[in-house]
Amino acid sequence: MTDRPSVMVAMSGGVDSSVAAALLVDRGYDVTGVTLKLWAGADGTPPTSGCCTAADASDARSVASLLGIPYYVFDYQDEFRAGVVDPVIAGYASGVTPNPCIECNRLIKLALLRERASLLGCEFIATGHHARVMTTNGRPRLLRGCDRAKDQSYVLYMLDEISLRSLLLPIGEMTKTQVRATARRLGLRTAEKDESQDVCFVGDGGMRAFLETELADRLVAGEVLDRAGATVGRHRGAALFTIGQRRGVGVSAAGRRFVTAVDPASGTVRVGSRAELESRVVEADGVSWVSGLPPEDDSQVMVQIRYASDPLPGRVFSTSQGSMRLELDQSAWAVAPGQAAVCYRGDEVIGGGTIRRSEPDATATG
């Protein structure tokens, strides 16, 4: 044990977490690298693409070796399956669109990492997320990463001040280009590694193929209805669809049709025009605020209703314990229950919650 501040870095084998570890070593921290083994393929065969491949752990190990830091692999597959994968599947089966990365961060990645860190006497945990923790007047704040295109603050909205005090996000100040350049300069073999594009446990076939396999005979084929209730097509299972989806809807109709509602219970999928998916009001529950206190009712915030959506101006109201209502100044498109609604003030994440419902924008035309 040393006097240097100690940190446990989650290393996925990707270039971001590799550079995060390297930067911390450089800054004089006592660094321990760990890989959280979360997924071994749906049937126990390690995936060859996406995340958690055998190559990933090997890459993380080799970076740790190069940096001269201890490295361990922690197996949390059972917890991941029970805490993330199964609830995500159940969410789709009930007609919502969960964000697995948010569930993982909430329950697994940061919580378990923190447990392991405290067990080993590490004061801090660190990840390669593109986001920043900045302390102002003694209070930690969560900010977007400097590379807007790569910003991952959206999936970290559930963190509170206590968590942020012991979280280090070393690459948040850098652009992806700078991260890769740093990796190259350090001779990390992950410098040119491609990013894993999809949700880590979804294979090459994408979420739809994954759900088809997992839900199999729980899928109930049914009808695709238009706004008026007329049948315009058939589907293989309502759980396979998400709000705003256009592809894969077997519809014979003029004009572009998008999924406007999904109801696995009745087995119906509704489609409509683009305009029908514009919403001005979003309601969310399971709300958390970074500072611990909700913002004043009717205060101005910027809202993201999806990981990659543009933030929209609006006003936030706390409705009951743990719930909020967002009244947007301009409409959001295809608000999907199950996704997170995250509130920003400038670059700062102030909090968010899980979307439960939205109200269509009556002024939308079409």
Binding site: Y72, R116, L119
Partner: protein, 384 residues
Amino acid sequence: MADLIYLDHAASTPPFAEVIDLIAETLRSSPANPTGAHTAARAAVRVVEDAREQVAAAVGVNPGEVVFTSGGSEADNTAILGLAAVRGRPAPTIAVSAIEHGAVLEAAREAESLGAELRIIEVDDDGLIDPTRCASICRSDTALASVMLVNNEVGVIEPIAEIAGNLHLASPGAVIHTDAAQAFSTQPIERASLEVDAITISGHKIGGPQGVGALIVRDGLELRPLIRGGGQELGRRAGTHNVAGIAGFGLAVEMAAERRNDFAKRARSLTERAWELIASKVDGAVVNGSGAPRAPHILSLRFEGIRAEDALVLLDREGVCISSGASCASGAQKPSHVLSAMGCSAPEARSTLRLSVGWSTTEVEIDLAAEAICVAVATLRREK
């Protein structure tokens, strides 16, 4: 290594000093390829054949019955795939125990995917195989059976001679292979006494280098080679010999056999000491396979209420090197198949630590390690 308390000898044990010296000397003095037609080649041949004689003598076979390989895994694969392939075509029946090393199991599964019928011989809760039960599983049509003499994870010693004897009666044409990699350092290995047809030996388990081993194959048994090419090893295993490694392996086999009795006694007293220390300070600790005869150098313990991988990390930070289950588990995600076959639940399997001693292990190391294990277990239990 000097400042570590290394107690993972079942994974790999440091080579004898004499072996290291011999390997270095051989690399300098006999670097030629044994397949040449000249003096330099013949010197290398001499080295290989001397080693072959050492191995043959230790196991009570003819030199021609020793096939050098790249280690235990290759020997296991050659036994399963090479011996079975030529028997009972087109679809031989292969029987392997439920607790075999991954190399045997995976090779058997490969054989199955190629058309063989695979039968698994179960074990009881102590990891033991009942010879009568085994014979009835194998019936009369088994072409190849493989049962390890000492299990690498829990150390249980199987009654190979009895098993083989029963099997030969039940399935007269059967070829019987035993993986003796973990057994060699403490158990007598003599082919005829074991009544087997093929034996796997591994260098790095017995004071030899990693990357060298042997498959003992009874004279007269046909073997389809896995590695083809230059016809070395009488056409049974191609590839230029690892001359220096083989020299080291031969010496290690000789030395390990010589020291076997002494080591077995020392190892027994060391692992018993470890168990007594731990059992006296920690509740809910159980020896896996406690009802079976076990090799003296392996101690497999499970501790209620902890995750082994957490303990390993805590111990690693104290400089104590042990393992949980098998060391080949880096790719495996499921709880140990050995412990599962012995009736352990998944949590029980995941709370198992394996401590194994070697020639160099001292009582001081045992005391320090036992203490560290007790502290780690207490820490983990407190944390819950």
